[in-house]
Symmetry: D2
Subunit: 365 residues, 4 copies
């Protein structure tokens, strides 16, 4: 018999849901006990439901293959099988549905954007704002949740640069402006997502929803939990250009930063590389299972990081940074580029790390 915590995956047939199911295999603390998806998949064996749609390099975990997919709208069914779910839903009305799960006592660790701006829902990157989980108690009060609650993770694209920026802020570099251009992989758009007719040899610019998320979500993540509220950080202005590029996995970001003040009198690139390479935070201190030992890796090779070569460091959970230079258009500033695996660090891996943090802090039972 196992002491693992049973967990469900909502939206288990989609690209992110598949990654959850793949990475939960052999997890030391969580055990996949339930899969739900849209009504059209409900009632099918999981292997049938994803037949011809499984997009993960590793095989479908053998346990998952024979599980029967439930209807994600059928919360009772979930209640009977788990008290905690990862939500990777791609259907309508997710905001309300996730709340209903919480209302029925289920803890929801979500990838979806639906509840990211719900006031008392923390939007977590465990290396940056683990303390925001303390708002869970208020959330329960506000909504009359008993055991259930909701936490979310941010958009995949910003994971390629926000942690390196935060690492500098923590060391006294006050960031005032972020200008970022992303080159995002097609797997970030789900499956079937972007047509091959639109992406072979081509670039799609101005990804509108993505640009808004990239400009706003960091302000909540970097915010302060005060008087039972998360006060958005207001000292940074962010501008984002988001593009879809013909890359399968791995979001690249080109970043220019302005510092309003820095620890010393001039920018020293070696100092910054050291800060990045030595950055450790709560997930590392708690030795969470999915936590990368080195959350930020700096590469000295001039033409790196590259998606096909650099997304699997630390089991896909690292952010790889390169191309560091002074940003001469600002009094104090730097430019660099960052890369992370959008389905792992930016989605399922990040969600599982959130759950591991919750467990370590006593919120998971």
């Amino acid at each position: 018999m196992t002491n693992k915590i049973p967990v469900g995956v909502l939206g288990g047939t989609g690209t992110v849901g598949q990654m959850y199911i793949s990475r939960l295999e052999n997890h030391p603390d969580f055990e996949l006990s339930y899969i739900a998806a849209s009504p059209s998949s409900a009632g099918k064996k999981y292997s049938d439901a994803v037949h011809g749609r499984w997009r993960i390099k590793e095989d479908i975990p053998s346990k998952a293959k024979n599980m029967i997919v439930s209807d994600a709208n059928d919360i009772k069914s979930a209640v009977n099988n788990c008290s905690f779910v990862f939500s990777a839903l791609e259907m309508g009305l997710i905001k309300q549905l996730e709340e209903n799960y919480a209302k029925e006592g289920i803890i929801v660790v979500s990838n979806c954007s639906a509840n990211r701006w719900t006031e008392d829902v923390p939007m977590l990157i465990p290396e940056i704002n683990p303390g925001h989980i303390d708002i869970i108690n208020n959330q329960r009060e506000n909504h009359g949740f008993n055991k259930g609650f909701i936490v979310v993770k941010p958009n995949c694209s910003l994971q390629s640069y926000l942690t390196p920026i935060y690492a500098l802020m923590k060391e006294g570099y006050d960031v005032s402006k972020i200008i970022v251009t992303t080159m995002q992989a097609t797997s970030g758009a789900g499956y079937p997502g972007i047509s091959s007719l639109d992406l072979i040899g081509n670039i799609i610019p101005n990804l509108s929803g993505e640009q808004e998320k990239a400009e706003k979500e960091p302000l909540k993540i970097l915010g302060e939990l005060k008087n039972k509220k998360i006060i958005n950080y207001d000292k940074i202005k962010i501008s984002a250009h988001c593009n879809r590029v013909p890359v399968i996995d791995g979001h690249t970001a080109c970043v220019s930063l302005e510092f309003s003040s820095i620890p010393s009198k001039s920018i020293n690139l070696e100092d910054i590389i050291n800060i990045w390479e030595n950055f450790r935070s709560v997930p590392q201190d708690l030795e969470l299972y999915s936590a990368p030992k080195r959350p930020i890796i700096y590469t000295n090779e001039s033409d790196r990081p590259q998606p096909v070569r650099d997304i699997y460091h630390e089991n896909g959970m690292a952010v790889v940074v390169g191309g560091l230079e002074k940003e001469n258009i600002f009094s104090y500033g730097i430019k660099f580029n960052g890369l992370s695996h959008n389905l792992i660090r930016g989605a399922a891996g990040g969600g599982i790390l959130n759950a591991e943090l919750l467990k370590a802090k006593g919120y998971l039972g």
Copy 2:
């Protein structure tokens, strides 16, 4: 008999040289009379020299096929065949070689970077700084050139955004900062250039030579010709992130601009689109053959311009702009993205337009 001006192409076997030869076919004023390349191609029929290497969609012009390729080091041979050449050389020691051509009386319209920073050589985008050709007289004096002289065009990447920026400057928008991220096509790296192993499904960041060119060349182009010198413009600071992407033709740029002052009290996006759409300059006034009627085209479709769909407007000579928004991180600013055909507007087409300007101004004979 023809009254066309005979012209040679140096480096005629490379990707840019091929584009010159293709676009000179049927030109009303210039006639290909000479092809030179590296010693390894010298002595071959042109069709043999480019066998298996011709990378232009149109066929090799029939006249060019049978021309015998000369050695680009053999200036005497050029002198006997033309008094004016396009230089698209990809060999070493180009700076001196181009000077030697000029010394022997040959007018050199160059694509190469070698002489871009030679003080008395104008770096031309005819829509922006046509007046810089007046430095040719000083150049002749300084170097003791009799009939010959050198003009150059800038790097291909900056053609996707510098003209739209200049169009605004001309209308009273004082630009103080440019932050640009380029996504550059592989044809810009020549042939064989980038290995398919490095570019299928991948991105190469931090193109080092490109970044420096993107940051410095605009300052000379926007400079003022005063006292027989081109004084670099010093009111703009530029930051560039340059990337190679799996696109065949077409350089995309994502641009954020800060204005130190603007004509009115707030940014009006409609005004800016009107300025772009109505921008006309000297090549249009002179009705130069290769001049695009609309040098800047704004697209309202939210996910455009895209390389495979938008590089052939105005016969490949337009810059297509989209995604215009206010840039909220600056008091006054905008963001947009631009696209141009790197081998046409950014290389051979731009070079031919330079020559047409020279002819119209009486410098070509």
Copy 3:
């Protein structure tokens, strides 16, 4: 006033329908007068209906932009606007719907597979079986059609090799076996069609519907019209492997042929190239507007034809053939590879050529 024949396009919003509308612009004999599509597009301006979905390099023809899209199920509406349509429908129940159009007096020139095996419907490649149109009279009798009738064109993939094979058959090379492997472009699967997640850096083998079509349709095309019936040709056996590859436009085929007998005692490759290069047929004799002057072009360059370089010969209507060798596994045989533009020769261009043949033969009014 125009004397052109008004024509409608059914399925005008899809990839093939767009190509029809693009190529009908400036057609000397046909004039676009009607566009119909699925109910979801009905009632919209055409430019709105294809907004963000227009996938042709040339702009939407200005006349088409403002046309209102009708519901393809509403045959009365078609009757009021045209007596002849191109059908590029991608909806269900096409077989019956096309029959209903014919019943209402409309001539249907179809791209769809629905009626390819309807006994009295000719499946036309005008260079191969123009005489099959004589079955139209029987078709009218059989179905009680008055003015209307249906003709179809075959699957796009077989256009890359069937005409070169037919050209040899006509000269006395009796073909007994065809083994073909296709590498088909993504535009052949419609839009959105194949997900970029499945095609970037990948190949999809065993395209099941395609393989059947490639093995069977040639037998009808090569068949004989006898006693008011098309008798399938039964002396050739065909084996097809069909693959989807990361190419935008252009289907490539690798072909091995066995001849049961040949005109002379041994295979002479020069003879075969001459047969191909000199092949002319009814569309060329009739000087049909869309007929390629050279329907088959042989390339001597060893690594050609290639999709990005060779699909636009003869305005996209040629088949380009290369790599000819003796096929040593058969007593008499050859191997070669062929290429054609799947949306032009293989779809809309082929359909328009069918209509031009019908007009020349007096079937279009």
Copy 4:
């Protein structure tokens, strides 16, 4: 101290050489002790020699990083460091050079084509012709080799289908004709190899050297060792069409087979699948370290195997087969498609398996 056999890699800086060095890390019996390459790399630390050229997903093995690369022409230096080498040379005159190594007492396990047709050199696929190693004694006699000798592996492309064909032959299916079309990955052409300008969105047909190898090498592999000679198998005729496609790793083959006789009266597809799935041979019996447990894997999914999804089965050493159907153009025949990892099963992995076989048979010690 280790009991592992020290081994050198000749051509260690190329794509295949890198794969050897990567896969030798942690090998239980072989230990990398020497790296040689062309004179331009000689004298450099290995990590410097491959800087910017390392194309393997895993990092450079730490032991290799600091090894000094020797000149592959300097055989004395090799003699001092190892008595056994893997040859992945990409320079000229390899045939003679490999012989010279053997003459100096070094055992050469080669990937190169240079000695594939040397009469007394066995061309090995250990699952097919392990017995051919017995010719080594004759080879030593013929050439006066003392301890050294040469064995080679065949071209990478035929590994995707020859083992499945052999598995059937072994069970009584007499194959008379093989018609194969390959779609080969770009990594098979080395680095830099194919230009991205030639391969993005494109196909290169008629790979001439490849076609000859695919048609001839199987005949030697399937040959019989008799009277100290390998007598080429002469009952099969092979036709190959070879294409380069925009895929990074993984060669796909579409195969049609004719059987001159079969074990029963009709083709039974289930029987064939069983033969493939149950195929085991000498490497499996000997439990060689790199031997795939299942050398042939049949996939029932209709659109598989696909390069991005199916090349890593059995650690990259399996051949994955799909799409099995009767081949109706022959009295008895089948069609199928096969896939293998060209750098692993088709190159370094296959070479290492050859060495493991030699060791097990007493030739390496």
